[in-house]
């Protein structure tokens, strides 16, 4: 789960990482009031769960409350890479001397936390990695031991830091690592981490991603989930415990198992179609769950045909067929549905479908044939 900058900063402050003072505003008027409180120069920053907001014009540095108001006016409602800006963060200005980069992530291959530090901050770290790899210090922490004091020293000396900056960065490193552990984060990133004229080390931005699987032990963080920002169909799917991701095409897709569904999407694309979604109904032939999934998939107006791809493992094909028929009956869907049943008891399942098939349902034996058919039907206009 990705957190907004203002949420991430609040969590980091609780772990002893210093940030600038900030106020969240939902209207231009609130932005003006916030700027009045700080006085002087302030930054107006779009709060969106995506990168690249600076380039998109989502961050403006202004010098008066009136300017803050008009900047907020422009930024609020703005679309940044498909995300609508509904809040801005107003932050007091700072006298920045240097900009650095610091993050802790989960390194999947090493199976350990990875700390990245660079004295080149405020720019895309992947870019630095390409153009100036020596500017990045990389170090793995041992998940059982935590970040050790000598490792902190190693990072600071490798980066060539001295004096107050070295001390300040060391403190942030320790606190950020603790935050990473205690928040069950998969990413905590500060870009830029700045040293101010008066020697303070501050997090000017914060990107925090918390591992979804750990949310059961962080109810306070789970509550931060922004329901409004989520796609309504994705939100409904989440509540029904279905794995659903909305895409741009017109062939609705349902199947069992993440890998099989991903593969189904690919095969549809290879057949010249465009998948409208990813939807994994999981194991089980539960008519209730299939109904909900069918309903969510077809509530996307763009969907013109549906491909239902099931490989019966433990779940038997005949049970799936009955579940599907009952789901179609319940939801009254009249879009063309292509069913491909394979695996355990697939014969029996196909038989059941053949005997009771509603007009809009066709069956195919293989994944490829089913994909081609679904693509054809979508092309013919579906509903």
């Amino acid at each position: 789960m990705d957190l907004y900058e203002y949420q991430g900063k609040e969590l980091l402050r609780k772990h002893g990482v210093e940030t600038l003072e900030g106020i969240v505003a939902e209207t231009a008027e609130e932005a003006r009031q916030a700027a009045e409180r700080f006085g002087g120069t302030v930054a107006v920053k779009a709060q969106v769960l995506t990168g690249g907001r600076g380039k998109a014009g989502g961050i403006k540095v202004v010098h008066s409350p009136e300017e803050a108001e008009s900047a907020a006016q422009q930024i609020l409602g703005m679309d940044i890479r498909g995300h609508t800006v509904r809040r801005v963060l107003i932050e007091a200005g700072a006298d920045i001397e240097t900009e650095m980069y610091l993050s802790v992530t989960v390194d999947r291959a090493a199976k350990k936390p990875l700390i990245l530090f660079s004295t080149e901050g405020g720019v895309d770290i992947e870019e630095v990695a390409e153009t100036n790899p020596e500017a990045i210090v990389r170090l793995h922490a041992d998940p059982l031991l935590g970040l050790l004091p000598y490792q902190v020293r190693e990072i600071i000396f490798s980066a060539g830091l001295e004096g107050d900056a070295a001390k300040g960065v060391g403190k942030v490193l320790n606190n950020l690592y603790k935050a990473f552990e205690e928040l069950d984060a998969s990413l905590v990133e500060i870009n830029p981490l700045v040293v101010t004229g008066d020697g303070r080390v501050l997090a000017l931005d914060a990107k925090v991603t918390v591992d979804n699987s750990s949310l059961y032990r962080h109810p306070d963080i789970a509550e931060l989930h922004d329901v409004e920002a989520a796609d309504p169909q994705e939100q409904r799917a989440q509540e029904a415990d279905l794995q659903y991701v909305k895409l741009d095409g017109d062939v609705g897709i349902l199947g069992n198992g993440a890998g099989l569904v991903m593969s189904t999407l690919d095969v549809v694309a290879q057949a010249g179609g465009e998948p409208a979604n990813f939807c994994d109904v999981g194991g089980g032939a539960d008519a209730e769950k299939i109904s909900t999934a069918l309903d969510i998939v077809t509530s996307n107006e763009q969907v013109k045909s549906v491909l239902f791809n099931i490989f019966g493992g433990i779940t038997r094909g005949d049970e799936v067929a009955r579940g599907l028929l009952s789901a179609i009956d319940r939801t009254g869907i009249d879009l063309p549905i292509v069913v491909r049943l394979d695996g355990t008891n697939a014969e029996e399942g196909r038989q059941i479908l053949a005997e009771n098939t509603p007009e809009n349902v066709v069956t195919e034996e293989t994944m490829l044939e089913a994909a081609r058919r679904a693509v054809e039907l979508a092309r013919d206009g579906g509903r």
């Binding site: 999947r108 998940p143 059982l144 890998g259 991903m262 593969s263 695996g343 355990t344």
Partner: protein
């Protein structure tokens, strides 16, 4: 021969009295697996389908000499169950549980390095060696004994591909589901090495997906170390960036993690890569000659 589990496997089921644990214990027994013990804290002294249930792994091992375990314990307690299995001396631990926190798994895999054990999973379908041992939730009916090893990050996609192999008369030595989580106990390379060392495995099918770079690392390994032919398939070409596609680990987050990048790495390493699941069986038939 097979890898990881075979006739010598003496299996212990952690979470044997839970809904999933009980159901799949029944199926593993039906497949002829030697299930010697179950563990559910507080239910020691009972039995399930003739399998004695113990309170702790230590007691179970003391009484039954179990040497492998399969875990059906809910996510908040699963990491603890793995630690218990590792300390109990299991040589193979298979964790089926989906949804274990990533930080728990980093600690587990760190500790695993100090043990002479193989952890498969979590969030995996398990390991099955046809007609030898079934330490999995996989449907055994689609398998047939043979000389093709299968290693995969996905469950149903594995069934799909195994089924196509079986229908073409191509049998399997062992199928290993390594799991769809970001941090897993065993990655492709360790399993590929075991298949390479297995004289009865003549071809390996590797099924990958988006997320991470395990497939690239595996491709380098295949090119450098393996003489056994490998056929690969990667799922997730149509996955958008930043969205989790069902499996917690299946997320495109940077150039390396895309299906294109993985397929490209496989091709560069001279590995036969199928574009859809059906083609896998064709390529395996070709590789076997």
């Amino acid at each position: 021969m097979a890898i990881l589990v075979d006739e010598g496997t003496r299996l212990l089921v952690q979470g044997i009295t839970g809904r999933e644990g009980a159901f799949h214990t029944g199926r593993m027994l039906e497949s002829g697996t030697n299930v010697v013990a179950g563990v559910t804290p507080g239910k020691g002294g009972q039995d399930y389908e003739g399998v004695p249930v113990f309170n702790t792994v230590e007691q179970a091992v003391g009484e039954t000499r179990a040497n492998a375990s399969v875990i059906f314990v809910p996510p908040p307690f699963a990491a603890d169950a793995i630690f218990e299995s590792l300390d109990g001396g299991m040589s193979t631990v298979c964790c089926i549980t989906e949804g274990i926190p990533v930080h728990d798994m980093m600690r587990v895999t760190d500790y695993l390095q100090t043990k002479d054990a193989t952890l498969i999973g979590p969030n995996c379908p398990g390991v099955l060696s046809p007609e030898k041992a079934n330490v999995s939730i996989m449907p055994r009916d689609i398998f047939t004994p043979g000389n093709v090893g299968v290693v995969s990050r996905s469950g149903t996609l594995t069934y799909q591909i195994v089924n196509e192999l079986t229908q073409r008369g191509i049998g399997q030595s062992t199928a290993v589901g390594i799991g769809g989580d970001p941090i897993i106990g065993t990655n492709f390379i360790e399993i590929l090495a075991k298949f390479e060392a297995d004289p009865e495995t003549d071809c390996v099918v590797m099924i990958g997906e988006i997320g991470g770079n395990a497939e690239q690392l595996a491709a380098e390994y295949v090119q450098r170390e393996m003489s056994t032919p490998v056929v690969a398939y990667i799922a997730g070409f149509t996955a958008p960036e930043g969205k989790t596609m069902g499996h917690a680990g299946a997320i495109v987050s940077g150039g390396e993690s895309t299906a294109e990048a993985k397929s490209e790495a496989l091709r560069r390493a001279g590995i036969r890569a199928a574009t859809n699941p059906s083609e896998v069986a064709d390529l395996v038939a070709e590789a076997l000659g």
